[in-house]
Symmetry: C5
Subunit: 382 residues, 5 copies
């Protein structure tokens, strides 16, 4: 089940007030199919599409048994698996209700871990992956087939990095690490987009951009919500007293913890930069408005007096009645004189605006030009 | 008693300086009516509208006795109940003063829990539900009849989820869980509204929207205030040394704690998104203003020079006095020449504005158009 | 001494570098007058305007002796009281310097508590109340007569709530609780004002309102500063190892702690709402400006072309010289034709603005109308 | 060395990578001069301008020896002092590098304390004062002569407050307390300035004010940076296990801690108020712009139609050609009719704007008037 | 590898899901070259461009052996070094993946420290320096040759500051201290730039400045991200139980910790100042817009009525038809009268604007003038 900011992520499958541990399938859940990998130092077998009976047969005969269930529609099958491995009903309920935050919980004979796997989609969508780590077995539940565990399976098959020398705790680490690492390329893509947005907001502020900045901020918010609880979850695995995790594996999990911190660090940096873009946008808009108003003011200030003078000499006072009535109209050089007055007024105003730095500084270049290519006296003085 | 942001929620029933433990009924309180459910593994009985004497008779004869009082007007009855079950007077005062924050307090022989039940209304309104968990009994006090406990009663009646196998602590958990779970559908509704607001602010910014965003922010603030203390309350029940809560039930309460965290997570996300909407609104307004001013500036810049030229040739200089006075008026093609000058000036200005990207980029579409349907080069390049 | 945000609250009475414990009276301090209440389970006496000698006589003869000094001008008297009850000189200095933050300090044989009593005035003003709780005595120092302790005195006189059954610690609790409770009605009043401001900012944004919002924010800031340290002070009384506070009283103090948290909760909510009002104001102003500019643009866009056409036909080209010169002026229907062109231009522009949603949507109603009474499609769709 | 926000405070004297403990004099350092005060319960002597040999002679012969060095230019002298009293070279390096944050560090046989003394200047400037508290001696190093310790010296001389009865730890407390107390009058002055700024921003917003608000915010930031670490430093002295500080003195240091908290409290309040001033400024500007645009729009909306009508009747259609051409010009009351139409249009528009509340509400009074003297219906309704 | 905010810093070299400890060279990595310094109290030798075999020969024969590898391309060589000194593969992976946050990790027989060295470039770029501190050896790995360790090497060669008397832990301290100290001159440069920006934003707000402020904020963000984790890393070295760090060295590392705090302090101050610049910019723009609009409004308000009067007397009502038609045109002093009316109207409007403080206060000086040189009544009144 994807996790969008909006109505969907406030949904819970179990109706309010229902008995805890009640398993009710999501009507949109995908059909369940189960894969199985069993291995030890010197052996490995792998089967797909196995039944509960197959698992029952194999259980206990190999050092590490990894059952991977994709799709959560078959409640009966999940409940049987739970009974078979002694899983707590509360944990099973969380497997079905796919809006859990990442967390790690210790039960009597197993550790229950919830992580969220990032999907390669347009917006931030995650899929819940639930892990049960017990003595000799690992169960993983995914919402649908397709995951980021293929490299881990490959390492198991090829005995690469000696993953088969360690127990279930190391496999759990490897799976969690794969989930965490999958966030890096996604963040890298967001970093690229953020840089593009930044350039665009500075050079061509437009209302679509502000919607994009908002969308980016929402995506980063979702990423933070997805990543942040992993930190606590992993921390709990490091600290915890459980005997299911060996000291050696804790060393690896500590490395995984570092990656989570690094992810959060990047997300927070991106969020601060994205927030700054709104300020830049408003500043650009404000500057742009100033430029527009300068144009209007210059035009109005120049043409209004000129227009007034023209109208003045368009008045119809009766020059025949009195020599005081508009004698200019009868002057020999009356018209050139009027044009001259206008020209002087216009030149004076242009000079005034030039002195005020309103013209001659290419106002519109500021808003639309490319700041990057212009010489930057500031940066140069270091 | 509902809890609105405003004068009402700063009210306390007990006058300042009154003796602690003083019980003074709220004049608006609803008449008290008491229901009773008693049960054990194999038995259950349920009675409505019982009197104190009925309770006295039954008390101690069943493993778990749940007394539910709706309406807080009958102070005498509540005090008698308190005496019957040995409840502390400070706790009883908190039952009557219905503006308590959710909390859990341990007394000598009972645990006192205050929760706030969300009501299905337009704005965020909550009703205080007080719980006393003792050895063999649970007392709940509600402000009025109607609650979210019906599914729990149903589970008790049908022995579903084996709720009757556990003691009072599990019933307390079930009730608290029902209260917490009731927040999810409310939040889901707010998520939907927030998405509608988001679309509206981007496509049709209007002053009503900003009032709605403010109202949304206030509601989310109220939700946070209602939900946040539940976390601490539940945490206290998990940590506490009291023998009234068994280890097994603590496991369930931990699950309830997760739900509270999840709720807070959603509320905080919504709050951040709602805050961003103000920025979008201001940006939209700013963009829109720019567009309006561009229209004005274009119109003024084109028509002012044209008007000036027309006024110029409306001047009444006396062509008969001197050949210098407006000879153009007497040219054979004077009028077409003047029209031509105007046409060239207008075309030049239009061209200038087109070069400045002020026209030909459909400025108003930005403010009112639907960004969503427009092709988005950004999103496509991933 | 009142405590305003501004110069006054950064003042200290004792000059920098003076010896600690130096008692220097504030020149504006009120004359000291001392009241005394002594009581036990079965007895109570009350005297006003007592002298130090009276106190010396009574001291030790009653289970609880409450000395209340109003006015801090008589340094000598306060020092003698301090010597009589063995109070620490540092604590006495804090009694005189009335700008202390609320705090609780344990000394060898007494606990020293500073609280701040809210005064019923226009702005947030508080008066420092200092308490010394010792074995068998309580000393309170107020800046001036008039306090919120009358209900406590009444309870003592009437033996109500059995306050006389407990010791000095319970009396201390009762006094602190009275101080805390007095904040609730003040906050209630601020809540009412905030709602009025909110309505006003949405319906009639005016510059006076922004000054009022700022003033409200300052008052809430002062309230937070006054209330917040009480939390720590009370917490210290709950936690502390002192034998002067019994376990039973701690239960009551815990209740008082809850009230402080509730107060802070309300103040923080009000602060967030007040902050949002600035956004609403700016948004309203921005919307209003858009509306004004639309009016200007519409008027200019319609009348500039019309005026241009009129000016055009006001030109004086000599129709006698050439048939090319303004033949329209001689047309039979020239004038109706010109009027028609103007009418068509005006109608076209009005239609354009209507299509752009600039007119026909009652722009000014947005800024000044009452949003509340208008049908709200958003709220209705739930 | 003063500490300005800017390049200077990121400077360190010791070049990066130099050996720790390297003493390199600041070229701008003032010449060193040493004073000495020795005292016990019944004796005190004071000498100025002493040499190292003088100190060597006196050392160990009096209960408390206070060496005060002003000016840090004489590295050799400082190193010799360090050797004489067994001071750690790292601490000595911090004495010379006068950009240390306030801190307290425990060394084997002495405690090293750095404080920052506020200077009475226009902007926030502080001088580093370093203290070494050992068994029987106190060394203080100041950047230059002139300090806030005179009252302490006076108390020593006059045996006031019995400061001579205590040891070196009490003297250290007295000195630190003097440094802390010196911040209060400075903050008081900032409080006054802030109130003036507040009044100015509300009544006469001007761009100089926003620069002043920014400068105020920077100063408060510097104050916070100077004061904040004192809290930690004092806390360390209270908590620390060192036997150099007696329990009795710890009581006094706790008092000093309270003062630091109080200072921080005031600074934070001022910072929040200063931040709010930017909002007020922007709101005022926005309101002012609205008022300006209203004036422009009213003028344009009234005179554009009037001007259009006047232009209309200035057209030169040939009335002789056709009776359809401007017959109004020949009417007997044509001119009064035209004037009447103009008057009615103007009156109608004025009425429209009055109904829209654009005029008759004295728009400009808002921006420039004095809100304070105007009757305020809000404040009165309480 | 440099570390820019953008796509690059979200990159990890190891593909997601790869086995931990996998060493894959960055294709852009520089060729590896190894230097070696061995020393004890009385000896020192230094060799450049050594091979693994050289190291193997020397290892164990000197008290302290410092191997410094520049360039990370030669994976084989790094792995062999790791095997030779028993380094953990996870740590080696972090050496290769050069986007680690600064951290310190304890392994069985060595401490692994990651720091980031600031480069002297235009923007904030850092290079990862990894340290392994073991018993008798220190290994440092840099991304490329050229570092800030030269002063340390010099001190080793000259036996200055007795660095050769201490062990590997002291050398590790010296190297970390050199890395930390290198941040100070960079910050100093940012402080200078920030002051220039501040002056520029106040006196000449232009859109390039806001882009520069944004760039400055991003750089400071990067600096914070680079510096902040050093604090935790150093803290871990102080606290840690490892026997590899002696108590004496811890004293020095504590000094290094102080420097980190000081750096963070400066960065945070700069960040707050930079944030304030956006407010100043918007305020300046807003003030500037007001000034522009005032000019436009004044011009329009003066010339529109004048133009209207001129147009009025340009109307062509037929004076011959009726004495009511524009008799003014025939007055003897009609024209001077009309000019007089215009002059009075203009003078009246100018007076009105002067009274409104719109003119005569040099509006444009505010936006472009230099506030600094103007007399400042505020600052003077202290």
């Amino acid at each position: 089940m994807t996790r969008r900011v909006g109505k969907s992520h406030a949904k819970r499958r179990t109706p309010p007030g229902a008995a805890p541990g009640t398993l009710i399938a999501d009507p949109t859940a995908v059909q369940t199919s189960i894969d199985m990998i069993g291995y030890g130092k010197d052996q490995i077998f792998e089967r797909q599409g196995v039944s509960i009976d197959d698992i029952r047969t194999v259980k206990g005969t190999v050092p590490v048994l990894w059952i991977n269930a994709s799709g959560l529609a078959d409640i009966e099958c999940i409940r049987t698996l739970g009974d078979l491995f002694g899983l707590h009903s509360l944990a099973l309920e969380d497997v079905i209700n796919v809006h859990q935050r990442p967390k790690a919980e210790e039960y009597e004979n197993h550790v229950f871990v919830v992580t969220r796997m990032i999907l390669a989609s347009r917006h931030v969508e995650t899929e819940q992956v639930s892990l049960f780590v017990g003595d000799g077995f690992i169960l993983t539940f995914q919402e649908r087939s397709g995951d980021c565990f293929e490299p881990v399976r490959e390492r198991l098959r090829r005995h690469k990095g000696r993953i088969r020398d360690f127990g279930t705790d190391y496999l759990a680490y490897a799976l969690i690490d794969a989930v965490i690492d999958a966030y890096f390329p996604v963040l890298e893509r967001y970093g690229e987009r953020l840089e593009e947005l930044e350039d665009a907001v500075i050079s061509h502020p437009s209302p679509e951009l502000i919607a994009k900045v908002h969308s980016m901020k929402r995506d980063l918010l979702s990423l933070r919500r997805a990543i942040w609880p992993h930190r606590e979850m992993i921390n709990m695995l490091i600290r915890d007293e459980t005997t299911l995790v060996t000291d050696q594996t804790r060393l690896y999990i500590r490395d995984c913890y570092d990656h989570t911190i690094q992810l959060m660090d990047i997300v927070e940096t991106y969020r601060e930069i994205a927030s700054g873009l709104v300020d830049i946008y408003l500043s650009s808009m404000s500057t742009h408005l100033n430029d527009i108003m300068k144009v209007l003011t210059i035009i109005a200030t120049i043409f209004m007096p000129l227009g007034f003078i023209a109208s003045l000499y368009g008045m119809n006072f009766d020059r025949t009645t009195s020599p005081w009535n508009m004698p200019e109209l009868g002057w020999q050089y009356g018209y050139p004189f009027a044009l001259g007055v206008m020209a002087i007024a216009a030149a004076g105003l242009v000079y005034y605006f030039w002195k005020q730095r309103w013209i001659g500084h290419a106002p519109n270049k500021h808003a639309h030009g490319n700041q990057k290519s212009s010489p930057d006296p500031f940066r140069d003085n270091k």
